[in-house]
Amino acid sequence: MNRFWKWTAGILGVIVVTAFIGLSVMAGSPKDAYGMVRYALPHMHRGTLKVGSDAPDARIVALDGVSRFHIRERTHDRPLVLVFGSFT
């Protein structure tokens, strides 16, 4: 039994180290790999929307920081190209 757990722990360790090395290569550095796991992956979701789904509405704040409007207010007689992003 003791030998079993040693092997299990060893294999898991190899998997974790390999995954971290792979992520480091993909992200650019070990620091970036940590950043990706710690800060990016928890916030990245595919979501449930599909082509043909009703477009969800949400209240948006205008650049003046005071006015509000709804995304669906911007959908009229033409398609609405909705671009999400941030500065950094």
């Binding site: 929307l49 082509v51 948006i60 704040v61 995304i71 007689d77 398609p79 190209v81 500065f87 950094t88």
Partner: protein
């Protein structure tokens, strides 16, 4: 964002556009990128709506960003509804349905797919690329010196 601006310039007479600013992807207090330091785009993750407003205004002013612009509020309602973070493009048709769902950035963020959708609908349009701002102003003092820390509302 250059590709999106070009698409906007090409199709703004045919389609409406809205950019929604969502939570920062690489703030100074989380996973900051060297490229952001080099480009002097250094902000902490906003904790208040006022901080988001400051950064959004810095962005639009610095790049003279021409697209209509809005800000997701601190409940992240738009981000959650559209699984938008860190960057993503959708097209909503006239009936209020999703007509195009882009991939999650940065790896699957492909503005050219949105262009293809518009081109399939309205024909290929290609205007001259807009000139970048002659003098890119640095971020405002509020945004750069003390990243995104205006008084909360």
């Amino acid at each position: 964002m250059g590709d999106v601006v070009q698409i906007y310039e090409d199709y703004k007479e045919r389609a409406d556009f809205l950019t929604v600013y969502v939570r920062e992807a690489h703030p100074t207090d989380e996973w900051q990128m060297k490229s952001n330091v080099k480009d002097d785009v250094c902000y902490a993750q906003p904790k208040t709506l006022a901080q988001r407003v400051v950064i959004a205004n810095d962005f639009t002013k610095r790049f003279k960003f021409p697209l209509p612009f809005g800000i997701d509020d601190m409940s992240n309602a738009a981000n959650d509804a559209y699984a938008a973070w860190p960057e993503r493009i959708y097209i909503i048709d006239e009936s209020g349905h999703i007509a195009y769902r882009g991939g999650i950035g940065p790896f699957n963020y492909k503005p050219e797919e949105a262009r293809d959708w518009l081109a399939a609908r309205y024909g290929a349009v290609k205007h001259e690329a807009p000139k970048p701002p002659a003098n890119i102003a640095p971020p405002s003092a509020a945004g750069a010196a003390t990243p995104a820390a205006p008084p909360s509302k």
